[in-house]
Symmetry: C2
Subunit: 216 residues, 2 copies
């Protein structure tokens, strides 16, 4: 029995919440800011979502859906595609999610904020979203090590962390990077070259470690 008007303010509220929460985090963001941005009354969030936490939870759920739909764990590549291609696709989509403009960047920024300042919703996030991503990345790393390492090995886990860390770094340290290198841009076209660097860096590392390991 949803009315058209209902969905209007409700979705406007969600969009505004996405922008504000992903910029300021749960605690720092205020419902007044969100409602002002949405052009709604402060009471609207209570009416539609119960309270601030309810709005946040609803937003996070929507971010799940969008994130999984837009960047599914397989990321458009077959499981038997060359590991090099899977690595680049993983890195590139990761960066786009984090650095993309507009509403496309919602989910990524929101999740990064959730990591900075964990709320009880973190469990859900890890289970539904991060675990499959981690599994896939460990699989890619294990394939590229090419020395019989299994995705569950500690080596694969460590290498997956090395790759994920590179991907997150640019996003998490934007403020510092801007000061260190003011002409370092992160537009959409630059994201691809950044992804190429990270993929190449990681590829060389994995191949090198594979060779080194055999020599031990």
């Amino acid at each position: 029995m949803e009315r058209v008007d209902t969905r209007d303010t409700k979705s406007r509220l969600m969009e505004a919440a996405g922008r504000v929460f992903s910029e300021k985090g749960f605690k720092t963001a205020t419902v007044r800011d969100i409602c002002r941005l949405a052009g709604a009354n402060v009471a609207a969030v209570h009416y539609h979502f119960g309270d601030k936490a309810g709005l946040y939870k609803a937003l996070l759920d929507e971010a799940f859906e969008l994130g999984l739909k837009r960047y599914p764990p397989a990321m458009g590549l077959a499981d038997d595609a060359p590991a090099e291609k899977r690595l680049f696709a993983f890195v590139h989509s990761f960066l786009l999610r984090m650095l993309g403009d507009g509403r496309d960047a919602w989910c990524g920024k929101l999740m990064a904020m959730e990591l900075n300042e964990p709320t009880p919703a973190l469990d859900h996030l890890v289970e539904r979203y991060i675990t499959p991503m981690s599994r896939r990345l460990r699989r890619i790393a294990a394939d590229l090590l090419a020395d019989g390492t299994k995705p569950d090995d500690d080596r694969a886990f460590l290498c997956a962390m090395s790759i994920a860390g590179q991907c997150q770094h640019i996003f998490r340290n934007r403020a510092v990077i801007d000061k260190l290198s003011p002409d370092f841009k992160t537009d959409v076209e630059d994201v691809e070259s950044l992804a190429r660097h990270i993929a190449e860096f990681s590829l060389c590392a994995l191949r090198g470690m594979s060779h080194a390991k055999r020599g031990y």
Copy 2:
């Protein structure tokens, strides 16, 4: 004209502030929490530091001193030491600063919090602390690329980011890593093995990229 008692509550306040600020960030932390932890009255922060921001600034300054003294940019190695050793030393000290227990972890966690939620103090942080670190790391990367790359080149900059990203990842995503791999520990002895991994991963990457570049 400092009294003994003065220094007592003042230093107790600093210690408590270090713990609270480094855990919750500037905005989320409350002076009441800090004062309760320090066993001091709320008015004490006004008396000794002017206001909350003054306390934070004083704390950050102290963290500078401690961080620079304990882990100076050169980190105990000569500038002409082998680049491989310099790389490991850089990574290892970085991790110790971030993951160290007790009051030793102050500065690292505080700076990470400052990055998550920048305050006007960030400029000082970048200028005094991060810039020399970045320069040193770029120098290491350029040396290891061994193909004539200069520390100021974009290639060295990107590789330095890749290394720094790996170092920060374990610290910044502790909550998630604990859930993904509950038996992944970060005790002091484990930090060294972690540092070995990151150093080896990066070393292989740099050497591999150097060879690849020549082939272009």
